[in-house]
Point group: none
Chain length 234, copies 2
Amino acid sequence: MRPAYQRVADSLRADIEAGRWQPATKLPSEHTLAQTFEVSRTTIRQALDVLESANVIRRQQGKGTFVAAQGVSHVLGDLKSFTDTLRELGKQPGIRDVSVAIDDDPPADATTFLRGSRIWCVERVRTADGRAFCRMQSWLPDALAAGIAEDELLARQSLYALLADLSDERPAEATEVIRAEAASAEDSVALGVPKDTPLLSIYRWTSNHRGAPIEFVRSASPGDRYEYVIRLKQ
Amino acid sequence: MRPAYQRVADSLRADIEAGRWQPATKLPSEHTLAQTFEVSRTTIRQALDVLESANVIRRQQGKGTFVAAQGVSHVLGDLKSFTDTLRELGKQPGIRDVSVAIDDDPPADATTFLRGSRIWCVERVRTADGRAFCRMQSWLPDALAAGIAEDELLARQSLYALLADLSDERPAEATEVIRAEAASAEDSVALGVPKDTPLLSIYRWTSNHRGAPIEFVRSASPGDRYEYVIRLKQ
DNA sequence: CAGTGGTCTAGACCACTGT
DNA sequence: CAGTGGTCTAGACCACTGT
């Protein structure tokens, strides 16, 4: 039996995600929700805490609780896979249009980083609740890519998990560069958006604990479907 | 009067940061802490929630609450000003189109974060080697903004440096959200780019060491003139 | 088994908002 | 003023851990 506050949070989240409550809509007050769900106000507040930290709602003292603008956020802080991040946000992660192939003409950054070996490209389109939100291209060295089968990627969804099994390679260090770009013709087909739509593109160079390259990645997402969150501390 | 749970959290945090409790040390149980601080267990749990989400402690059901490793893993990047960042890149930082005024209709995020007081907006366009690359809008609470004069901002260039002098307010914590957006009409005038050009927009919520809000900022830069670099380590 | 954190109740009063 | 979310109390029982 799941705790009551989680069932309340799930129920509210489902209503919001199904569009029964639109962004900026005011939710019923905590007292009203307590009566509706037949639990104490404390339990309602626990449920709302969950939704607030997932950026599903926003609370304003004296005014009320409102449905937040929706979007997927990537919370930085460790080297988490997209799959993990999405699950934490309560979205159903999916994947489609997988291809694994030798890339005879990889981008210059990939060639430089992966140093000479034959280069493979793993391409995937990531979905959240069935909707495309990220075109992901990973360039890998020959040694790592050889064991990757397309159907496994579809089933497993996490490239990092697969690499860990295949070769004991774990990402230990990465540099990311974030840019705003206009969608190319290929991007627009993969993501189903008009050409030149603003995309948030993240380029990532990932190495193992010995500093050897694991992959060079480009992830491109439409600006209205993805945002990137960073917490900084001095 | 600050709420009791915040005072408890501050007290525990101070003990940990002063090294009186080393990493991996087990804290007194919640029941014991409630007696020590003479508050209810609920209030202790609120305080521990704060410290847990700040990664200061970790809780394990059935075992106890432990001081977290104070390592690098969650401290990613630092709170550097644009001026510092540009200088490191060997560009000549500049500033133009400064305005400081009360904002009667600030964005909802600013209102929520700065909580109620009259809100000021400091707007600037940042240049690198004379070329506009960033439109920066900072929303500040009344108490902080009152002392800011436009000519000082032009001369000093760093809002953080100015705030530190005026009020001893230093940024200690921030959350950033990065999005790709299409340039609005105002953006296109400020930056000299066509409307709907892809912009990299960074929203930042900055607090001092007591968690009080200092500013909410939006920085918007054309995708071809700015990129954001992050180094991650596990 | 005792001790821990996790969940939950049924209240109370406070701070803030808008009428 | 009424209505909202924010804080707080003093309990209770549950789930998990280690002896």
